[in-house]
């Protein structure tokens, strides 16, 4: 199932990337080449095989739900492109 221009545009929208027309065209052909190579996985019979999402078998890790203030709060806020008092500032999201 080849990747088309509309697929790249739809995915770019989901990924919040504003691609140029040239980037879109290049990605269509690169995606087809790369995903075409990956079709090789269809040679393998994986019926009934459990997927692996984590390489080391693990139980859930839990801890006490205790608040620990982060010491460098000011440094965190200082890293933001734009703040207003104790808040992050972003362009208007509703009218």
């Amino acid at each position: 199932m080849p990747v088309e221009l509309k697929d790249v545009r739809a995915v770019a929208e989901l990924a919040r990337l504003a691609l140029t027309a040239e980037e879109e065209t290049r990605l269509v052909s690169q995606l087809n080449e790369i995903l075409g190579f990956m079709e090789t996985l269809n040679e393998l019979d994986t019926r009934g095989v459990e997927p692996t999402s984590h390489p080391v078998p693990m139980e859930n890790v839990t801890r006490k739900d205790q608040i620990e203030p982060f010491a460098a709060r000011g440094d965190l806020m200082a890293a933001a492109p734009e703040v207003a008092g104790d808040y992050y500032r972003v362009p208007r999201i509703m009218d």
């Binding site: 990924a15 919040r16 990337l17 190579f37 990956m38 996985l41 459990e50 965190l76 890293a79």
Partner: protein
């Protein structure tokens, strides 16, 4: 021998005897960086002032008779994907050009506890996505053995810095070979520990189920020392393993008599580069000569590069598209100016902040995770990941470690593969299976090609068997030179 050319254990001996100071050692590496980095571009930032003050502190501790720590006074370089409090952490990206980390990565705190002197941050492919350090926003790193060739990637800066004696040792991260492959191209030792052996807290995430931090060093003993200093459970990383950390620094030279070394038929195909095949076969004979036994076996899925690469890139790109969603121009990093609505602020920020390779992986990752394609690509890749794990489990029932090539050839020329992403991905053909299975592996230099380019082999072991890999790596080193 100049101080910057020493291994960590050699330098430590001189420091402990009081024959040299940490100040002198640090000055030597800083001078070497000054003299060579205009050409190599191994460093993104160097903190000379901070390094000299850490060195002075190490000298004071020694003078006061206190324990200076395992790496007391030893200069260390860090891949610029690791957070150091108060310093720049760029991840090789424009997105984080001005980012100042508010905390130390756990690896950094442990290196500090061990007395290491942190000298600077090394170059890497943008967000560790690449195999040549060519996708860095801060320019390519050149191979010290041949400046027209790549140093490998993504930890190319760390590998080149160690190879060029700009540091005593370095730290990198390995998601699909990013420690082992540049180590091989630059002729240094690179260790990828078991997934979870080293805490990932403070390591910028690329593909969270594959990422692991490891050392790049001048010899196997230094890799053992560094791993001992940085390994162990950390409450800030819930995927870090609880198991006790062995004294790698004491056990790496215990010999390999009776160990069984597996050679997979699939790892030495007829089309393999002659130089790589010859070095791998010679390494097998050397191990046999040191008392190991060779076992022929098969890895029908885990030994097949095309299956491993496909599974790896589908999973890595899927995970990276989710991990990189955090770069939205709100809490830190780059923000595009002039946007009047939130949506275009996000889009412009990300389009300006990310380079081509990162965008390609985000797009591909988002595509394979999206409705309608998930089962065909991502789920299939995870199922193949299970087959790869099983292959290794079966192999390790018959042997203690596997011996394999690290790369399909020696370091390639700068620019040779930048226009063809698939060709670039194919350079990782021997390294990615290890990350999918979460097992440890070490890349050890074993010789030079006729044109003077380093060639290495890797040893792969079962989970948490780093000790055996270090012992085997040390045996290979000893057979290559008197020790």
């Amino acid at each position: 021998m100049a101080l910057n050319e020493l291994t960590a254990h050699e330098l430590k001996t001189l420091l402990d005897r009081g024959e040299v100071s940490a100040h002198e050692a640090t000055t030597a590496v800083l001078e070497r960086i000054e003299a060579t980095d205009d050409t190599l571009n191994a460093f993104i930032s160097v903190d000379a002032e901070g390094a000299l003050s850490q060195a002075a502190a190490a000298d004071r501790r020694r003078a006061a008779g206190e324990d200076p720590g395992m790496l007391g006074g030893v200069p260390v370089a860090l891949k610029d994907l690791l957070c150091v409090a108060g310093g720049h952490t760029t991840c090789g990206s424009r997105m984080l050009e001005n980012y100042i980390a508010p905390y130390d990565a756990t690896v950094v705190s442990r290196l500090r506890q061990a007395g290491a002197v942190i000298i600077g941050k090394t170059n890497l492919d943008e967000f560790a996505m690449g195999s040549s350090t060519e996708s860095s926003y801060y320019g390519v790193t050149r191979n010290p053995h041949d400046n027209s060739r790549v140093a490998g990637g993504s930890s190319g800066g760390s590998a080149a810095a160690v190879a060029a004696d700009q540091t005593i040792l370095a730290i990198g991260s390995d998601t699909g070979g990013s420690v082992r492959q540049p180590a091989a191209y630059c002729g240094v030792v690179g260790l990828k520990p078991t997934y979870g052996r080293v805490s990932r807290y403070g390591l910028t995430a690329y593909a969270s189920s594959l990422d692991q931090i490891g050392p790049l060093t001048k010899d196997v003993q230094d890799a053992a020392w560094t791993l001992e200093a940085i390994a162990g459970h950390d409450r800030f990383d819930s995927t870090s393993i609880q198991a006790q950390v062995p004294a790698y620094s004491q056990s790496f030279n215990r010999g390999i008599k009776g160990m069984r070394i597996g050679l997979a038929r699939e790892h030495l195909p007829p089309e393999l580069d002659d130089r790589i095949a010859a070095v791998t076969r010679q390494a097998a004979l050397s191990l046999e000569h040191c008392g190991a036994e060779l076992v022929d076996l098969e890895l029908p899925v885990a030994g097949r590069g095309e299956y491993c690469l496909s599974s790896f890139y589908l999973i890595a790109m899927g995970e990276s598209s989710a991990n990189l969603a955090r770069y939205d121009g709100v809490k830190y990093g780059h923000r595009a100016h002039g946007a009047t609505d939130l949506q275009s602020m996000y889009q412009n920020t990300r389009n300006q902040g990310f380079g081509d390779e990162v965008k390609r992986r985000i797009i591909l990752g988002t595509y394979v995770l999206s409705a309608g394609y998930y089962d065909a690509y991502y789920l299939k890749a995870q199922q193949v990941r299970t087959l790869i794990r099983r292959d290794f489990e079966q192999a390790f029932a018959r042997c203690d470690a596997l011996l394999a090539p690290v790369t399909p050839g020696p370091a390639f020329r700068i620019g040779e593969k930048t226009d063809d992403p698939l060709q670039m991905y194919l350079t990782d053909i021997y390294t990615v299976a290890v990350n999918l299975a979460g097992i440890p592996a070490i890349s050890v230099p074993c010789g030079l090609s006729a044109e003077g380019l380093p060639i290495s082999v890797q040893l792969l072991g079962p989970p948490l068997q780093e000790e055996k890999l270090l012992q085997l790596g040390h045996a290979l080193e000893c057979s290559a030179r008197p020790c």
